[in-house]
């Protein structure tokens, strides 16, 4: 399983990357694998406020619909509109297929580094 060192992670399997005050959010390799083939991605709109720990959108796979939990509080700067037409990108390249970029970030959920996230995934696999 692919867990890049430079990212931070939530227990609900989102990854977070910070660059110059812009926070990029996506789903982890573990998440895309557990969900199976993703067939629909529902994203917020530019300018929408997000609250850390609450759903920012949802992804639908052939198994189920699952909420995507926002790792940060802030304002949506951009959404990856490519995913609306081609949700399979999340399966193919989970760390390239970001979901949203967030600015004006005021709060963060409890985040894990790569090692802690790897341990967390091992625990979930039982």
């Amino acid at each position: 399983m692919n867990i890049p060192d430079e990212l931070r992670y939530t227990k609900s399997h989102e990854w977070l990357k910070e660059e110059d005050g812009i926070y990029t959010v996506g789903l982890t390799d573990f998440a895309q694998h557990a969900l199976g083939d993703i067939v629909f991605v529902n994203l917020p709109q530019e300018g929408d406020p997000l609250t850390a720990g609450e759903a920012l959108g949802d992804v639908e796979s052939v198994k189920a619909v699952s909420d995507v939990i926002s790792p940060v509080s802030g304002v949506v700067k951009a959404v990856n509109e490519e995913l609306l037409d081609n949700p399979a990108l999340v399966n193919e390249d989970p760390y390239g297929a970001w979901l949203v970029q967030v600015e004006e970030v005021s709060d963060e959920e409890e985040l894990l580094d790569a090692a802690a996230y790897e341990a967390h995934c091992a625990g979930e696999e039982g």
Partner: protein
């Protein structure tokens, strides 16, 4: 197999539609279509063969065991069909004066009385067309109640994380915000989490009991008290009433509103898209908000208004009434007892065969297995096991639900199965487990006896084809 459009030939037809016996009323020019609709043109013999061929490819409770968890696929007695085809019921017109259809009114009144007895509610509307529609109606009633008291800040509906997906969907449709309540490791509502989630914004809680993993919420009186204390109402999702009907009543547990799925619990056919019927029962204080209808009464100044045209899915109520009257008090309770007994019997047999239950101990009318261990050991998933059941002529159980259980298979055998059928199913599943360990590849390839093996679910979801492409465009 050919589509009906591919069987169509210009000029062919049949006379199975009755002749027009009322004056033709032409549509105004602007509403008329410019070209005739491209309906299939087909003779009666070809038509019969077409549907006969389709029916051979379908699978229903008359074909074999159908333990689809959470769906209560019980056998539907033919008595119900006989009653629902009586001309006094089938020949009525939606606009017929009420004094000419008093028999139909009596059906609704009797069904209301009996189902209120079963649920412990004080009144019931038969308008909702199915379960989710019932949920939506019940939530509108809850909203109307709060608003009638000037209590407009109650915007949150609480839903356990094991709930049916329709619960949060209905709450969102009714304009509420949804808040999830986590389950305990035993699969029950976490009382502390519920207390923490309740507050002045709580409009209500939606719950099934037994819950979605087939367990009885033993703290139900505390649960309803906590929500009531916070000023919210409690909604009973009747999805799992089959486990307790005639034995325990939602009304006595503290529920204020409930819907029933007549098409599940009360033995009316379903699974092919309906029609269903999702009547909503309420306690007395909510009666002023009920929708009104010609057959069912109610309505008035505070009513939420009609939620369905005319008499809704009336013939489904006829079937349910026939079922209730045929079984009687003792029979209804016996059905529930047997549903619970059958589920526990099958669960025990499968555990003896080497399967793992997601939650230990006795279940109610359904139970959940987790195949997570098997998948790790052999690579055989819940999907593979379900597909292999098809080859044995068994409809698979519900898969990958509830979401809180990994590699879930959810079985609901219902009360209408004999011990022989349950023994056979257990033997089939024991064999699948043996093959999973010896030859997992064979299970990845199952089913091998069905017309369609493994449809490409991803392509079906990503690029659905829902319209026939006529060759001429």
């Amino acid at each position: 197999m050919k589509l009906i459009f591919e069987r169509s030939r210009p000029g062919r037809g049949n006379d199975i539609l009755p002749p027009l016996d009322v004056p033709a009323a032409p549509l105004p020019e602007e509403y008329r279509r410019k070209a005739p609709p491209r309906l299939p043109e087909i003779g009666e013999s070809d038509l019969s063969r077409h549907y006969q061929a389709l029916s051979r490819r379908a699978f229903g409770v008359c074909d074999g065991f159908y333990p689809l968890g959470s769906c209560t696929m019980k056998y539907n007695p033919k008595l119900g069909e006989e009653m629902a085809s009586l001309p006094g019921f089938t020949g009525i017109h939606p606009l017929q004066p009420i004094q000419t259809i008093l028999g139909c009114q009596k059906v609704i009144t009797q069904a209301e009385y009996l189902l209120c007895e079963v649920t412990g509610m004080d009144a019931m509307t038969f308008q909702p067309a199915a379960g989710a529609h019932g949920e939506f109606t019940g939530l509108l009633l809850i909203k109307a109640y709060h608003h009638s008291r000037g209590d407009t800040g109650r915007t949150v509906i609480l839903v356990p994380d094991s709930a049916h997906g329709t619960n949060p969907a209905s709450a969102a449709m009714a304009g509420f915000t949804v808040k999830n309540i986590p389950s305990t490791p035993e699969g029950l509502v976490d009382l502390e989490a519920l207390k923490a989630a309740c507050g002045p914004d709580t409009a209500g809680l939606m719950l099934t009991n037994p819950n979605t993993v087939g367990l009885f919420e033993r703290d139900i009186l505390d649960i309803t008290a906590i929500v009531h204390e916070a000023g919210g109402l409690v909604y009973y999702d009747g999805a799992n009433l089959n486990a307790i009907m005639g034995v325990a009543r939602p009304g006595d547990m503290g529920f204020d509103v409930c819907h029933l799925n007549l098409h599940k619990t009360f033995a009316t056919p379903h699974g092919g898209g309906g029609p269903g019927s999702g009547p909503v029962g309420v306690k007395e204080f909510l009666i002023p908000f009920l929708p009104g209808s010609a057959l069912g009464g109610y309505g008035g100044e505070q009513s939420i208004g009609q939620v369905r045209a005319f008499h809704a899915n009336f013939l489904v109520v006829v079937r349910a009434l026939a079922y209730l009257l045929r079984l009687g008090n003792a029979g209804i309770a016996e059905a529930a007892h047997t549903a619970v007994l059958n589920a526990n019997y099958l669960k025990q047999k499968l555990e003896e065969a080497g399967y793992t239950a997601a939650f230990p101990g006795l279940c109610m009318h359904e139970f959940v297995l987790t195949l997570e261990g098997l998948k790790k050991e052999t690579g055989v998933s819940a999907l593979d096991a379900a597909k292999a059941m098809l080859d044995a002529g068994i409809h698979p159980p519900t898969m990958y639900f509830p979401l809180i259980v990994h590699e879930a298979l959810m079985f609901e055998p219902t009360e209408t199965e004999t011990p022989d059928t349950l023994d056979e199913a257990a033997a089939v599943l024991a064999e699948i487990l043996r093959r999973a360990k010896e030859n997992p590849e064979a299970l990845h390839a199952a089913p091998v006896t069905t017309v369609i093996g493994r449809p490409d679910e991803t392509a079906a979801a990503r690029r659905p084809v829902v319209r026939y492409a006529f060759p001429e465009g």
